[in-house]
Assembly symmetry: C2
Homo-oligomer: 268 residues x 2
């Protein structure tokens, strides 16, 4: 599983404090902890913490790459902030994200190609989040087509089918799974499949149980990346075990330890 650590986001109070006090040690500590916990990328999102998102994004990227050379997942809804983040970034890069609209894809795919970056394409089209399997697959197909058209290798493409909160859109959990099982046929090599895990359990009492259960179903249907707290040990156990049962690792009694050892990314 490609674990994109979600913690460096201005919506978290510690990150907000780090940004507002220009204290990069706070940010660097979180980055180090996420990498130690097994993150293979770090999401970097200014969020609501600053009214100068462009400068803050550059400051975050520069601060984080002082401590790790792990992939940075530049996360902004604003094109110029995305561009500035990518330009500041010397590490491998992942764009988070482009909507699955033709106009957006025609801007973001060339940006990905220019920076040799991976990119997350969201299954959101002009009408919003598709509600059925077919329109999700259609949107994903447009994303894959646009990647190829603009010279982005499909093994650098991550498609996000958009998980929705189970407490308000219960049937979407399986619609997403069905759509995912078709994504792998969209290109060769197939695109990766990523979700923002925290959406599913939003507002639910059994939040962790719901999410931990869904990720197992996700792995069975091709999920290979997740935006999550890399330090969530129970969630990690769930997907490590699901991947083991799908023969993606060789069984040993200490398969969890073996997984963690093989995902030990060096810090600077």
């Amino acid at each position: 599983m490609h674990v994109i650590g979600e913690r460096i986001n201005g919506m978290f109070l510690d990150v907000k404090k780090g940004i507002q006090n220009k204290d990069k040690s706070i940010i660097q500590k979180i980055a180090i902890d996420q990498v130690k916990a097994g993150a293979t990328s770090l999401d970097v999102c200014v969020g609501p913490a600053s009214d100068k998102p462009l400068e803050t994004m550059v400051w975050l990227v520069e601060g984080i790459q002082e401590v790790t050379d792990i992939t940075l997942c530049i996360d902004s809804p604003r094109f110029e902030v995305m561009k500035a983040g990518l330009e500041a970034c010397k590490n491998p890069k992942l764009i988070n994200s482009s909507k699955g609209e033709e106009e957006k894809l025609d801007k973001y795919m060339p940006l990905a190609a220019e920076h040799n970056a991976s990119i997350i394409g969201l299954c959101i089209n002009e009408k919003g989040i598709p509600k059925d399997v077919n329109s999700r697959v259609e949107t994903a197909a447009l994303i894959a087509m646009k990647a190829m058209e603009h010279g982005v290798d499909t093994d650098k493409l991550y498609i996000d089918p958009i998980l929705m909160p189970a407490n308000v859109a219960q049937q979407q959990a399986t619609i997403v799974l069905e759509a995912m099982s078709q994504f792998k046929m969209l290109s060769d090599p197939p695109p990766h499949i990523v979700v923002g895990l925290s959406n599913l359990g939003q507002g639910a009492k059994e939040r962790e149980l719901l999410t931990r259960t869904w990720i197992v179903m996700g792995v069975l249907n091709g999920l290979d990346a997740a935006i999550m707290d890399a330090a969530d040990e129970e969630m990690k156990k769930a997907f490590i075990t699901a991947e083991l049962l799908m023969n993606k690792a060789i069984y040993s009694d200490s398969y969890i330890k073996a997984y963690n050892a093989s995902h030990d990314h060096p810090l600077k």
Copy 2:
């Protein structure tokens, strides 16, 4: 999920003691506890606890149905013990089990029809446990065909694809899942799918985690019955949540409590 409580089995020490001391209160207490914990059937197996399996089976069945009218799952490899168990049983009946061999099916399916009993057919043929998807499906198809031939409604048929220990037969976990997804096409109404959950984690250090993870995948692929300890709360949470995510129950914040309330079987 049809939960077949596995606890009344002479291989457990308390049951063995109950059998050997002819103390039916021990057996009845376990039966009551399993029903209270949400079992929808109780497996009844003499196992290695007695050298008079026929008499002991009858004694177990009679003792248990003094305290509950829940389905009893008569579990014996010996035909005459099975027959005696069924004859003693006034509750709804489930035969556990017939192998998927023509000769066995031609004996057990008529027995099921005669007693209006449900029956578990094992995906085990003359050569043993099939190792690939196709031979598992072929064996299941023979079981379904023999059920129909002998007048057993396919909604009374439970097919067990045979889970194997992940630590020695790792790739069987997904082969079983793939086979299961085809079982539902074998008849109309489709057969139920049952597994003995404890096999998967046998001898493994992370036994519970492996089993809890597999059952979620199982539910996604049509599993609707499991032989398990009905009092295993973590296992129950896993399949209740998996079924919720598949829209088999309506979401509420207290969906686990709601499931338990709706599976409250009255005791005598």
